[in-house]
């Protein structure tokens, strides 16, 4: 295939961007096809249940739903390319405006959750590996299991109740920064802390038992340096890989968390759009969400290649 031969000679970055665009195109097409698969008449969705046939026809014409699918598809792709994502009838605003407003909040939430997960999960895992077999190790092990079993919305509500209501340390939802960010980020990242700590523990233990660390100890390098400089680097690769895979789940969790805390992000928006059957908004959210995942994925991969030169 042409794409394959071109890829062999192009630089890695170009290849990467090419792959991302390909994925994006695939998502767009899939979304497009799905809108025809769902049993909602887009015209009726705009017009509401009390519209007459005439009104529906008019709307249908204005939405150009009478044109052949192929034409609609091409127009759809074209407008997506210039980021004209259509008009949201439930909010009476262009979709791009809505998403532009909401995206930063979700991005902030996701990134905070990821940082929380990596730092806390990483630290727990490292310490558990260094003191493997000890009490801390066992506590972390059990703790991780418990945390993963807890439903996120429940955790969110409990945190809100205890730290927001009872102790009053944090606001009861809303979008104030940075206080309003803490509890939602914690909730979203908690499950991640659990599995991150487990993976880090496993890879760090392996690294500690390896010949590499034996060589470092043989040279008398201080243990702190061995762990913080070498073991962290050695253990980093797998974490980032799994994190990239986990992004989809993270975004899904973001929907719930945003609902619980009233965080004005895209998750909330998408949820409401679904309820309102606001197709342009739904599709817009899917597209932006996909771009978001693709970009973070690319960043994580870059970080991983930087950290582990063997993968170059």
């Amino acid at each position: 295939m042409i794409a394959l031969t071109v890829r062999q000679s192009a630089a890695p970055i170009v290849r990467r961007i090419g792959a991302m665009l390909l994925t994006l195109w695939f998502v767009l097409t899939l979304t497009f096809v799905l809108t025809f698969a769902i049993p909602t008449d887009p015209a009726r969705a705009v017009a509401g249940p009390k519209a007459t046939q005439e009104q529906l026809e008019t709307i249908r014409l204005s939405l150009r739903l009478d044109e052949p699918m192929a034409v609609q598809y091409v127009r759809y792709l074209a407008s997506a390319a210039v980021l004209d994502l259509g008009y949201s009838h439930s909010q009476r605003r262009p979709v791009s405006d809505i998403l532009l407003e909401r995206l930063p909040y979700t991005a902030l939430l996701a990134v905070s959750a990821i940082m929380f997960q990596l730092i806390v999960g990483g630290a727990l895992g490292l310490w558990a590996a260094v003191r493997s077999g000890g009490l801390f190790d066992k506590v972390v092990f059990v703790g991780a299991l418990v945390v993963v079993a807890l439903p996120q919305f429940w955790v969110g509500l409990v945190l809100l109740f205890v730290f927001g209501f009872k102790l009053g340390w944090f606001p009861l939802g809303g979008a104030s920064l940075p206080e309003g960010l803490v509890l939602p980020a914690l909730t979203l990242g908690l499950a991640g802390v659990a599995w991150t700590s487990r993976i880090v523990r496993a890879t760090a233990s392996e690294a500690l038992a390896s010949n590499i660390v034996l060589g470092l100890r043989g040279r008398g390098i201080a243990p702190r340096r061995i762990v913080l400089k070498h073991v962290v680097r050695l253990a980093a690769g797998p974490i980032l890989s799994v994190l990239a895979l986990d992004l989809g789940l993270l975004l899904g969790g973001a929907v719930l968390v945003e609902a619980v805390f009233g965080w004005p992000g895209m998750g909330n928006t998408a949820f409401q759009a679904l309820q309102q059957k606001d197709l342009p908004l739904i599709m817009g959210s899917v597209i932006v969400g996909s771009i978001f995942v693709l970009v973070i994925n690319a960043l994580l991969d870059t970080a991983r290649v930087y950290l582990d030169p063997r993968t170059r």
Binding site: I212, G215, G218, R219, G220, P223, P309
Partner: protein, 340 residues
């Protein structure tokens, strides 16, 4: 190459003294502790090169690590005495050992791929080790270039920025040697440093070790299963079997007139000594290498020894001094009529 043939009068204090080293395995849930190395003694003079020879199960690698106190639970090691460069380390703390490692005694491992960390450049790792002493980064870089040159790496400036996996096995082993010598240790322990390398590269590395040892006066203790390298490399040799030293002496003594049945069998069974036109069957040592988890009483070699006496399976032989060398064998001691 200077090769003293007999154990002359020691006028210089040994640089490494190990007495009564023992390492054992303590299984987690109680049960019997299993000795992996017992009664290991070693006395190395400055600049001297020793080879510790044995097969799998001989405990040689474990002994090497125990000398540097690098064994981890469930293994643990103790010794009656360990002295490096005059410094008594018998009951030293972990911090004291950490200090000593790299600076007075250093180690080279078998697999060059994992001896170096794959995620940092060669230069980064060299500088890290050199800077255990207060040295500026700039001076450390200069010294790393110097070290790389010493170990015979062409284009050292280029290699500083390379990652280990970009280099060949021979080069990685040279860098491992450079790392070990970075802080000018007095003793170098090399655990099978050439086993994972190609034959022609093995010869290079051995030659390098000899040259460096002579130039810097560093003593080397090499762990190996390959007797063939002894004449070119080592002054003295210690043969291990089943966790114990069975014979020690100078290389020419032990290779030319082996006293212990295991040493004799090993030398006989070694392939590669016939250039005759006819193929012949190789003399074998019957049985299998010892299983340290199921050691019987008595001499560990007794089950495979052709000349075993009844005492051999009952009582472990003590090392006796004969002709300036040490042998642990009932046959030898009884025939000599001496002990101690």
């Amino acid at each position: 190459m200077t090769k003293p043939d007999t154990l002359g009068v020691q006028s210089v204090a040994p640089i490494l003294v190990v007495e009564g080293l023992r390492t054992f395995l303590t299984p987690d849930r109680g049960g019997v502790t299993i000795p992996l190395v017992e009664r290991f003694d070693l006395s190395v003079d400055p600049g001297e090169r020793w080879a510790i020879v044995g097969e799998s199960g001989s405990g040689k690698s474990i002994a090497a690590r125990s000398i540097m106190c690098l064994v981890d639970p469930p293994l643990s090691s103790t010794a009656d005495r360990i002295e490096i460069g005059g410094l008594d380390l018998t009951d030293a703390s972990r911090a004291a050992w950490r200090n000593v490692r790299g600076q007075r005694i250093a180690m080279i491992l078998q697999d060059p791929l994992t001896a170096l960390s794959p995620v940092f450049t060669v230069g980064n790792q060299l500088v890290e080790t050199i800077r255990r002493r207060p040295v500026s980064v700039h001076d450390a870089r200069d010294r790393s270039l110097d070290l790389l040159r010493q170990v015979g790496i062409p284009d050292p400036a280029l290699r500083l920025n390379a990652y280990p996996h970009e280099l060949s096995g021979g080069m990685r082993q040279r860098i491992a040697i450079a790392l070990a010598l970075a802080c000018e240790p007095q003793v170098l322990i090399a655990d099978e440093p050439t086993t994972a390398l190609d034959v022609t590269v093995q010869a290079q590395i051995l030659e390098l070790l000899v040259t460096l040892s002579e130039k810097t006066g560093t003593a080397v203790v090499m762990i190996t299963h390959d007797i063939g390298i002894l004449p070119e490399f080592a002054h003295k040799v210690a043969v291990m079997y089943g966790g114990r030293l069975v014979e020690t002496g100078t290389v020419s003594q032990v290779l030319n007139t082996p006293l212990h049945p295991y040493t004799q069998a090993l030398l006989r069974a070694r392939p590669g000594r016939s250039s005759s036109a006819e193929r012949r069957r190789l003399p074998v040592i019957g049985g299998a290498p010892p299983d340290l988890f199921r050691m019987q009483r008595g001499c560990p070699f007794a089950p495979r020894c052709e000349a075993a006496l009844s005492t051999c399976s009952e009582i472990k032989p003590e090392r006796a001094m004969i002709d300036g060398r040490r042998v642990a064998c009932h046959l030898v001691t009884s025939s000599m009529g001496t002990a101690g």
